[in-house]
Symmetry: C2
Amino acid sequence: MNSELNSLYEKFNQYKDMNLSLNMARGKPGKAQLDLSNGILNPELLGNYKSEDGTEVRNYGVLDGISECKRLYSEILEVPEKNIIVFGNASLTIMYDYISQCMVFGAGDKPWASQEGIKFLCPVPGYDRHFAILEHFGIEMINIPMNSEGPDMDMIDEYIKDDKVKGIICVPMYANPNGITYSENVINRFASLKPSAKDFRVIWDNAYCVHHLSDDADKFYNIFEYADKCGTSDLFIEVASTSKISFPGAGISVMAVSDANIEAVKKRMTVQTIGYDKINQLRHAAYFKNLDGIKAHMKKHAAEIKPKFDIVLETLNKYFSDSDSYKWTDPKGGYFISFDVPEGCAKRTVELCKEAGVTLTGAGATYPYHKDPKDSNIRIAPTFPDLDELKLATEILCVCAEIAELEKNQ
Amino acid sequence: MNSELNSLYEKFNQYKDMNLSLNMARGKPGKAQLDLSNGILNPELLGNYKSEDGTEVRNYGVLDGISECKRLYSEILEVPEKNIIVFGNASLTIMYDYISQCMVFGAGDKPWASQEGIKFLCPVPGYDRHFAILEHFGIEMINIPMNSEGPDMDMIDEYIKDDKVKGIICVPMYANPNGITYSENVINRFASLKPSAKDFRVIWDNAYCVHHLSDDADKFYNIFEYADKCGTSDLFIEVASTSKISFPGAGISVMAVSDANIEAVKKRMTVQTIGYDKINQLRHAAYFKNLDGIKAHMKKHAAEIKPKFDIVLETLNKYFSDSDSYKWTDPKGGYFISFDVPEGCAKRTVELCKEAGVTLTGAGATYPYHKDPKDSNIRIAPTFPDLDELKLATEILCVCAEIAELEKNQ
C-alpha cells in the first residue's frame, strides 16, 4: 500500500472522528438568503387586497395570473404579457404537467402515450429532476454532451431527424450543474431546429436567468426573439420561478410560450384549476415591482453566495490546480459547481464523503437513469452551508477524491 | 296572449330598465366572509418560520405537508395523519391530477387511457367542474339520480357490474348543488360497493364538510370508518380544502386516502414537485389551530350567509309555495340552493334572467355534458351578492321562471 494513500486515509479517519454532518447536496438557499425576502410577508403590501385592475385577490378567479405579475415576468423574460401564464409555487410542476398533457393529449399530433418508443434529448450533465420526469413517463432519454457554449448542436440536429425524438429538456442559462450559459450561436441553432416530429418541444427551463454571482454576468438571450425569426416559437416551452429569488416552495412560477401554446395550455388549465394563489402573486409583484427591483434583490443574494462559490473554488484550486485529471466549472451565476474527478472515481468519492459526514448529490444524478458513463461528475451545491462548513466539506471532498483516485490506480 | 303573461312581461321590462348587473352564478364567498380571515395574513403567525418539528418553512422540502396541517385535517376528516397529504391551493387540482395519474398509470390495473370506453357514474344534479374533468379526459359519464338520502345506490350497484365503469365522483356532504348529505345507510352502501373493475375509484369531494349554516347541522360520516370494516378503503379518494374556510384560491387543500393510495400518489408527487407552499400551510395551521378553531370560524361564516340563504328561500316560498311544479332545497350547509322549475323551462328562465341583468349558472351546468334531461334544474349561489341584491335577483328569477312556464304552456 502506498504511503501517499496511507497518509490520506489518516486524514480521512481524522475527519470521520469529527462526527460531522455537512451537506452540499441540494441547491437550497441559506438562511441569510431567506431572510432577504422576509419583507414580502408584510401584509401592507396587499393594500386593499385588490390587484391593479381591481380584482379581489382573496377570492376565486383569474386563471392565468394577475397582470402585475405577468408584467414583472414579461420584463424578466422579455416576452409579451399575453404570452405569460403565472402558475403555483413550482416550475417543476409546470414542466411535469406540460409533459403529462403531451402524454394524454399530444402536442399537435397524437398523444405521446399512444406513440411507441418516444425519446427526449438531454444535455448532460443536467438536472436530476428533469430526468426523473421523463423517466416517470417512460420517455427514453438520450445524452447530449455539453461543451463550453452549450449542448452539441450538431448531434442534436442529427438526432431530431428521427420523428420519435419529441423534445429536449435543458437549462439555457447558468445550467444545472455546470453553470454554462448557451452562446448566441447555440441560441440561433436552437431557434433554427428543424425536427422531423410535428409534436416536438423544447422545455426551456430558465431557472437561473437573473441569478448572477456578480456584475460580470453572462448575457441573457430571449429564445423567442430568435425563434420568432425562424417561425419556431411554438417549439419552446419556457419556464421560470421565484424559488431562488424569494422563497423556495412559497414563490410563484411562470410559463412563457407562443400564442398557440398559450391556448393549448389554458384549455387544460381551465379544467385543472380555477386559478392559482393571487395573494402570493400580489405579494411578489408589490414587493419586487419590476425588473430593477429583481436585479437589486439578486445583488443581495449574490453578496451572500459569491463568497461560498469562491471558497469551494479556492479549495479545489489548492488541491488540484496542478492536475489535468480534475476539472471544475467557475460559473458566473446559478447554484452549482460541476466537479469532474478522474474517470471511475465519482461514486467512490461520494461514498467516502458520506462516510466522513459530507452529503453530496449522488454520483450519477446529473445523468439520465443515474448513469454517468464515465463515473466522473459530481455536483457541488455551495449555497446552503455556512462558510466554515463549506470550507471543511470541500477539503474533505478533495481528500476523498484523491483517495478514490489512488485506490483506483493501485 | 294571456293577461297573466302580459303583466309578467311588464314587470320583466321594468327590471330590464333598471340595467341591473346581479350575479348568483358562482359559489364565491362575499367580501364580509373574506374579511373574517384577514388575520391569517399576519406574519406573526409564522413565528421564526419553523414548523413544529423544526422544518424551515421558507425553504425547499416536505413533500406531503407540515405535520400541524396534517393534524388539523386529521381532526376535520377523522382520518389518521399518515393518511393525509397536504397539497396546493385547490382540491380541484388534486382531483384533476389524480384522474390524470389514473389515465397514464392506472389505478392498480392498466392505464385508463389504454382501456377503451371507460365510464364514471355521476350523481345528478352535480358539480360542473367535476363533469368538466371527466369530459376533458374522454371518460363517459352516466347520470345517477339523487334522492333525499344521496344517490340511487341500487342503480350504482347495477352499473358497477360493468368493469368499464371505473368510478363515481360525488360530494357526500351538503352536495353541490342540492345540499343533500348522504345518510348513514348510503354511506354503508358506498362502503360495501363491489365493483367488477379492479381499478375502481370513488372521488369523494368533501368540499363542504364543516360548512354548516346553523347549529342544526347534518352529521358528518367518515367514509373510511365504514370502508375499513368492508375492506374497501382503497376505493376512496377523499379531498377537501380551506377554499371556503379561509380564502378561495389562496388556501390549502388535502387528500385523505388509504396507505396503498398514499404510496401511489406520493410516487407521482415526488416527480411532480419538491413540495407545496409550507408558509401558507403554517399560516393556516397557526391561525385555525384545531377543529374547534375551524368550528368557531365556520360559525362566523354561517352568520354571514345564513340570512342570504333565508332570503332566497323566503322569496321562492312567496312565489311558489302553492305550486307543485316548482321544487327547491333547504340545505343545512354548503353553498347552493337547487331550484327545479317546470320541465323544459330552465334554459328559458336563465336566458330571461340574463336579459334582465341577473347572471345564473348556465342551465344544464349541473348535469354531465350540460344536458339536463328535463331542462328543469337551476343552481342558485346565494353567498356572493349582498342581501338587497340577492332579494331583487331572486324576485327577478321567480318572475322569469313564471314567464318561462307560461310561455311553454301557451
